[in-house]
């Protein structure tokens, strides 16, 4: 039992130490340009991430588009300042999930799924600022040390329990759950520092709405699968992040402050820059298995940034993929609308042709497929399309 008391005291002490350091205001370390990691732990983490970056750099999962990358770097620079942003090296990862990350060494990954789900520079700036805040606050290092400390204590507690034949499961659980609450605190701190960055940037703060949309997307998928909708305000004990609802509330409060909405949100520029690679951003979502969520995301962009022929084609493809008879009719309508634009992508005519043939409108279908081949003679599927045209 003496073991347990000693450990409980040690834990209480750790708790106090945490509380004491948390109450201190975070001051940005002076920016020196080329920070070098210090100490075994930090240098070790940097080494791991340097190796990781080496392998990711040449990976086929990276979307190699210098123009887009420079555009994203520009948004980060406007958000966190031109002196700091050069510490980040941005890689665009072909991944449909809503995510971005920044490692301690400045290795930043932005998923195409994130670019598909935000609709202005200001919204993107909020997520980039959040990741940059993790970087600046050195959260990876803190988390690494927290987990090591916690699991070390856990090991000793379990051994002490075994030796003294005492049930320590409650204490063990609380140690494990502490790791998650530590992570949630990190996330909240990163949100708050991100908000501070945005306030000193030319962008208006549009952070809260992202989280309400994430909830709605999740609910759209849940409804489709006849699952119970979840709208939790309090996080579960093993959540690594605050809940979407929680984040919405405290960020909305910050956004309501005076002056927080001043500035241009950069939506039209964002639309122009991302339209260029729209199929790349949405194809994984379209091909995925979450129809309602994907449709929610595509509709969101259409409603916010307008429906152009590219986006209509994307939505048409989504419905054509699901392929119920009613979906084909819906998809055909989207393709029809898209093909009214002379500059529409050739895939719009392909979609129109394929859906029309399946519905039974053979003449319309064949004309559209002819158009597709004329516009894209070297299409990968040209041979199979020609077969459809033969009879």
């Amino acid at each position: 039992m003496r073991w347990i008391t000693a450990i409980a005291t040690a834990l209480a002490f750790c708790g106090q130490a945490n509380a004491a350091s948390k109450s201190k205001e975070f001051t940005r370390p002076p920016f020196s340009g080329a920070y070098e990691p210090a100490g075994v732990d930090e240098r070790g983490l940097w080494m791991l991430m340097d190796e990781e970056e080496r392998s990711v750099r040449d990976s086929p999962t990276i979307l190699n588009d210098p123009q887009l990358r420079d555009y994203l770097t520009g948004i980060l620079c406007k958000t966190v300042g031109f002196d700091r942003c050069n510490t980040a090296r941005i890689y665009i990862v072909k991944d449909k999930s809503f995510n971005a990350s920044m490692a301690p060494n400045g290795f930043m990954r932005i998923h195409t799924g994130l670019l598909a789900r935000v609709f202005s520079e200001s919204e993107l700036s909020a997520v980039l600022a959040h990741e940059f805040a993790h970087f600046e606050l050195r959260h990876s290092l803190g988390k690494f040390r927290n987990i090591r400390r916690s699991t070390d204590v856990l090991a000793w507690v379990s051994l002490a329990g075994a030796v003294t034949n005492t049930n320590t499961s409650a204490l063990q659980n609380s140690i494990v759950l502490q790791i998650f609450s530590y992570s949630r605190e990190n996330e909240r701190d990163a949100d708050l520092l991100a908000a501070a960055y945005i306030r000193s940037s030319p962008y208006p703060m549009h952070f809260a709405q992202i989280w309400s949309r994430m909830s709605e997307e999740d609910n759209a998928n849940r409804e489709e699968r006849k699952q119970r909708k979840i709208s939790r305000f309090a996080p579960g004990p093993t959540d690594s992040h605050p809940t979407n609802a929680q984040r919405f509330v405290y960020l909305a409060k910050l956004e309501a402050e005076e002056g927080a909405q001043e500035g241009d949100d950069g939506a039209s520029e964002y639309r122009a820059q991302t339209s260029r690679i729209l199929p790349e951003l949405y194809s994984a979502l379209v091909m995925g298995n979450e129809f309602s969520g994907a449709d929610y995301v595509i509709r969101g962009r259409g409603d916010r940034l307008g429906w152009d022929s590219l986006l209509l084609t994307t939505r048409g493809d989504l419905y054509r993929q699901r392929g119920n008879p009613r979906d084909l009719v819906t998809a055909q309508a989207f393709f029809q609308k898209a093909t009214q634009d002379e500059a529409a992508p050739p895939e719009a005519w392909r979609g129109l042709g394929l859906t029309s043939l399946r519905i039974g409108e053979t003449a319309v279908g064949k004309t559209a497929l002819q158009q597709y081949l004329t516009r894209q003679p070297n299409a990968k599927d040209a041979a199979s399309i020609k077969m459809l045209l033969e009879d």
Binding site: P37, V40, D41, R43, G44, L45, W46, M47, L48, S55, R57, D58, S59, P60, S101, A103, S140, K143, F144, I147, R148, T151, D152, L154, A155, W156, S158, L159, A162, V163, V176, I179, S183, S240
Partner: protein, 245 residues
């Protein structure tokens, strides 16, 4: 990042007793002989090196200095070994663009294939139905010849080592766990493998893997022992230099 920490945590929580499993360590492809190697160029891919400590609870703690030092020692030791092996080693050249992508993809593929060999061939109790009683025949596909064409090498050598030295806390924990409750706790992880691939056919001609390697990779004597273990059974007719085994 978080996910990896949680995975590590899950592993630790499982408080693994030492997973010492009797396992085959290496194999040479049937029909392959050392004569085929004589005078050939071998492309040495940048080795994978990870050196650090193991926390009391078993969490890996990377150490940048040890890793950098170990990488240098490994390069030097491999250089020393080349004469004894009767082959010519060439280092992986710096590459960018499509070449770099090609190298990166084959590096990943090798890691996957070698992992499969270790899990499904070297451990007899775990053989897949399709691998049962099958000879050591694994291939990365003949497309790999693009690497051979570009570098002029006939074979490619991959080397990988991972060392987690038990921290003082881990050693004390190991001692107490054994003494007080009789539970075996492993302190330290020392694994490594090396493989040779035919850059014309893509065939894996030799693989040597060991889950419990010797030699302290942080000094040159230890590295000499480690490399000797990594290259154990390397098909060669030339006499090998005396190792500190």
């Amino acid at each position: 990042m978080m996910q990896r920490f949680l995975q590590a945590l899950a592993l630790i929580l499982a408080i693994s007793a030492s997973p010492a499993i009797a396992q085959e360590k290496g194999a040479v492809r049937p029909g392959f002989s050392a004569e085929q190697l004589v005078g050939q160029k071998v492309l040495v891919f940048r080795p994978t090196v990870w050196v650090g400590e193991q926390s009391t609870a078993g969490m890996p703690e990377p150490n940048a200095d040890w890793t950098a030092q170990s990488r240098d020692l490994l390069d030097a030791e491999l250089r020393k070994q080349r004469q004894g092996l009767g082959v010519e080693f060439i280092d992986e050249p710096d590459s960018y663009g499509d070449d770099a992508k090609l190298v990166a993809q084959y590096r990943s593929l090798f890691t996957t294939v070698a992992g499969s060999v270790m899990v499904y061939q070297f451990f007899p109790g775990n053989r897949l139905p399709t691998r049962k009683n099958k000879p050591f025949e694994w291939s990365m596909g003949s497309e790999i010849s693009r690497l051979g064409d570009r570098t002029g090498a006939r074979y490619g050598l991959f080397v990988s080592t991972e060392d987690q030295y038990g921290s003082t806390g881990r050693k004390v924990f190991q001692f107490l766990a054994a003494g007080l409750v009789g539970v075996g706790v492993q302190s330290g992880v020392h694994t490594g493998y090396a493989g040779l691939v035919d850059l014309k056919t893509g065939e894996l001609v030799w693989l040597n893997a060991d889950g419990q390697m010797g030699g302290d990779v942080r000094n040159s004597e230890g590295m000499q022992k480690r490399v000797a273990q990594l290259l154990e059974d390397f098909p060669t007719i030339a006499k090998r230099p005396v190792s500190a085994k």
